[in-house]
């Protein structure tokens, strides 16, 4: 039982990293991309090749995975991001499948027994789950902070303008294509890093595990928590992984069919859209129009009742 909770923590972390990337693309910039499995795949393959074929360290494979996925994102992005939302969705779905096809053609059996990651002489072994939980959640924390900062910066502001209204954004001097591509490349790079983390944990890479299902799971994570809200996305990752391990947790592996979780994901997407399209937590209310400094925010957080009495105006 504890074992499964640890597994949930690990995979929730990996999916949280991926979902932070997807959130950058879908939540901030409003582009429905369906090839996160592809970026995940590139990250995993890059790690496997760097660590196994070249025998280099996991820490080198990390930036390589990010850059490789980002580059592919750039290559995909330049032709497809001019497309309207619906076309983009199909084009990226197709490209995700192509990435998987190519990966399968490069190495149909995948990679096994990839060397373990080490840090200051400590070896991250798969059976030591606690170490992985710490490692992966450290990454989640880092990306959460990086992307929170992004969301509150000029870049993030421009991305949100693009999401809200492309024509208006152009007339405000925002280079829509540039910000779409930046957002896509950033999201892709983070997807690659998630792939890297997964490989460090499982130490195997199989082309069969980067299906469309993974992309939908990531999308579901973002939609469930709340598009455009990084905290919500992490919550979404937990829920999605919890659902995924539900049969094992309840000990009903024989009763619950293998497709149950996918069915639930599909249902979640439909139900969320019908009942709560903004996600469980919704969007952050004050994003840019909040003049408070970080210290003031911190103070206001603890003085919340007093602020409410003033009518919530800042």
């Amino acid at each position: 039982m504890l074992n499964f909770f640890q597994l949930i923590l690990i995979y929730a972390g990996i999916y949280a990293v991926m979902a932070i990337g997807q959130n950058c693309i879908t939540g901030y910039t409003g582009m429905l991309s369906l090839c996160h499995a592809g970026f995940f795949c590139i990250g995993s393959y890059a790690t496997a090749i760097i660590c196994k074929t070249f025998g280099l360290s996991f820490w080198i494979s990390l930036p390589v995975a990010a850059i490789a996925a980002g580059l592919v994102g750039l290559l995909i992005g330049i032709p497809t991001l001019r497309l309207k939302g619906d076309y983009l969705c199909i084009a990226t779905l197709g490209l995700g499948e192509i990435i998987r096809n190519i990966a399968t053609n490069i190495n149909p059996v995948g990679y096994n027994s990839i060397p373990r990651a080490t840090l200051f002489g400590y070896q991250f072994a798969s059976r030591n789950k606690l170490a992985f939980i710490i490692l992966i959640w450290a990454f989640v924390l880092v990306f959460y902070i990086l992307f929170q900062q992004l969301a509150h910066s000029r870049l993030g502001r421009a991305m949100i303008a693009v999401r809200e209204d492309e024509v208006a954004a152009q007339s405000n001097g925002i280079n829509v294509t540039k910000y779409k591509i930046s957002s896509f490349v950033l999201g892709a790079a983070v997807g690659g890093i998630a792939g890297c983390l997964q490989t460090a944990y499982t130490l195997t890479v199989q082309p069969g595990s980067y299906t469309f299902m993974v992309s939908v799971m990531v999308l579901c994570t973002v939609v469930l928590g709340g598009m455009g809200n990084a905290k919500a996305v992490i919550l979404g990752a937990f829920i999605i992984q919890f659902i995924s391990y539900l049969p094992q947790l309840t000990g009903l592996t024989n009763v619950i069919p293998a497709q149950a979780k996918q069915l639930i994901y599909g249902l979640l997407l439909v139900v969320m859209m019908l009942c709560r399209p903004q996600g469980i937590l919704g969007r952050d209310k004050y994003r840019y129009g909040d003049p408070r400094t970080r210290m003031e925010k911190f103070r206001d957080f603890f003085a919340r009742p007093k602020k409410k009495a003033k009518g919530g105006e800042v």
Partner: protein, 308 residues
């Protein structure tokens, strides 16, 4: 066999493949024409259609064991009709539950909902029928006919004949009947159509019904070539979508032309460029991206600009 006959053979294969793409592309195009939204679940409706057709056909004839006869052929058409009817109902129900409440929501909402529906259908089928693929037995003798070195199998002929018949029927329906006119009116301007006394909800329902019925036919015909399995709809559906885009999405004739064109491009292009079998799907997407970049409105599509 000479190179020329070899390529003639590829073209024939492409034509039959293209006929199916056209049939399925019609569903995408009709829905897009009216709702301006891509029905992501369309490919999975095709899969459901193939499964229903297979089950009924097997029930009527005893499946693989049955020798092709007049009865198997009749049974094939009976199962096709039943499959069409059930898919039409399925399409309408999906529209009512998952898309209709989202008609005025933001543009991502119906798309996400459609992805959800697609996931439910394909995984529901995997749950009920299992993930293994099944062969659709030929309801007729499938010995190839040779014409000048090119071999054509009867199942290819059936595919083309049925597809063309369906497309002619649809063209007649859209151009000549009252409901067809209402449909065209709705695709031009929904609110005006409503003011003219057209029941827009009924037209949309009907569009989904027709599109899904055509997908069922497409699914059953595709089953000869691709076998029947729960995820068969994803790739076939995607390629049909590409066909719809090539022809100009929202345009019925465009979907037909686009389908045939894509079928031929795929059948001829893959061997011509020495693309390995596992990468054949890449051709379709390469074509999609090129079309979207060069002529995003497709061959027959109208230039639709967002009004500023």
């Amino acid at each position: 066999m000479g190179t020329l006959t070899l390529y003639m053979q590829y073209i024939v294969n492409g034509l039959t493949l293209g006929a199916i793409y056209s049939l399925i592309a019609l569903g995408y195009t009709m829905v897009y024409g009216i709702l301006k939204f891509i029905n992501f679940a369309h490919g999975d409706i095709l899969m459901v259609g193939a499964f229903i057709g297979l089950i009924i056909y097997n029930a009527l004839t005893g499946g693989e064991a049955a020798d092709p006869s007049a009865w198997t052929l009749i049974a094939f058409f009976i199962s096709m009709l039943i499959s069409m009817a059930s898919c039409a109902v399925l399409g309408m129900v999906i529209e009512r539950i998952a898309y209709k409440p989202l008609r005025n929501a933001n543009r991502l909402a119906p798309l996400l909902s459609a992805i959800g529906v697609s996931f439910i259908l394909s995984n529901g089928a995997a749950w009920i029928f299992g993930t293994q693929s099944r062969r659709f037995p030929y309801p007729f003798e499938n010995t190839p006919i040779h014409i000048g070195g090119i071999s054509i199998t009867p199942h290819q002929i059936v595919m083309v004949v049925v597809s063309v018949a369906m497309m002619l029927l649809l063209t007649f329906f859209v151009n000549k009947t009252r409901m067809g006119k209402a449909m065209r009116a709705c695709s031009l301007d929904q609110s005006t159509s409503m003011l003219m006394g057209i029941n827009v909800n009924r037209v949309i329902s009907l569009t989904f019904a027709i599109g899904s019925a055509l997908a069922a036919v497409g699914g059953m015909l595709a089953a000869f070539d691709f076998r029947v399995y729960p995820s068969m709809g994803t790739m076939t559906g995607l390629k049909a979508f590409v066909a719809a885009v090539i022809g100009g999405i929202g345009n019925i004739q465009g979907a037909m032309i686009g389908g045939i064109l894509l079928g031929i491009l795929e059948a001829v292009g893959a061997p011509l460029l020495h693309i390995p079998n596992g990468m054949r799907d890449t051709v379709a997407f390469a074509v999609l991206i090129i079309v979207l970049l060069v002529k995003p409105d497709g061959i027959l599509g109208k230039n639709e600009r967002e009004k500023v």
